[in-house]
């Protein structure tokens, strides 16, 4: 509830959707997803330290449908957050604020993160086929 009669800035739900704002929201969402994903990192390292039996549990989970779904999501999240993070670092150095350039780098991040994710899973599938 507004605490004063001052005019408010346009709220998200009446704003026209734009690539730049979408990407900002997704950057946060992928960051949260990756933070949650550290649980798998902790589990994997602990299991590797503990022995083959513990590690078998990690391998079974990662090979399951739900595990693969999470791994796919995290791989794309990492690719997106990494590419868009570099875009943010460029902004921090003062480069790329012009609107056409913000859109060009934005679409580049969207395409590149998708290409990288597909490349990763192409590698996984290709090597699984060989072995």
């Amino acid at each position: 509830m507004p605490q004063s009669a001052r005019p408010l800035s346009p709220h998200l739900d009446i704003y026209k959707w734009q690539l730049t704002m979408m990407m900002s929201i997704v950057h946060r969402a992928t960051g949260i997803a990756l933070a949650a994903g550290t649980v798998l990192l902790i589990w994997t390292l602990l299991a590797l330290a503990n022995g083959p039996d513990a590690y078998a549990g990690v391998q079974a989970f990662c090979a399951s449908k739900f595990g693969l779904f999470l791994l796919f999501g995290w791989s794309w999240s990492l690719c997106y957050h990494l590419c868009n993070g570099i875009r943010h670092l460029a902004w921090d150095s003062g480069w790329g604020f012009e609107i056409p350039r913000a859109y060009l780098t934005g679409w580049s991040v969207v395409v590149l993160s998708a290409v990288l994710t597909l490349a990763i899973w192409a590698c996984v599938i290709a090597r699984a086929g060989v072995s």
């Binding site: 550290t38 390292l45 590797l48 990494l82 943010h88 670092l89 590698c123 996984v124 090597r127 072995s131």
Partner: protein
Amino acid sequence: MSADLQTPLKRARGLGSAKDGTHHFIVQRITALALVPLSIWILFVALALMHADYAHARAMLHHPFAAVWLAAFVIAAFWHAQLGLQVVIEDYVHTRWLGIAAQLAVKFFCVAGALTCAVAIARIALV
């Protein structure tokens, strides 16, 4: 009545910034910069682990180079995650006790996660 006798400066003191926001910004960028090569490396490690059995996986991370890079990744990643989640909570959680509880939970999780990973890395590298 006493408030009327206070100068504007006296009233404003203690209500401004804690003067450490820039430090948060800078550390977030430093850890981000470190995570660029580290997370690319961790992607390759994860890809290799997908097709490795236990002995192979452990041998790969037993190497001192792997242990150092892994430790660097873990420290930078948990630090960066804590800084990022802190901002998300500050932005969206407006109930004071919930915000404090969430900040504490995130900090404890990140420190515990980083320490657990560090001990596991040491055991893989040294045992």
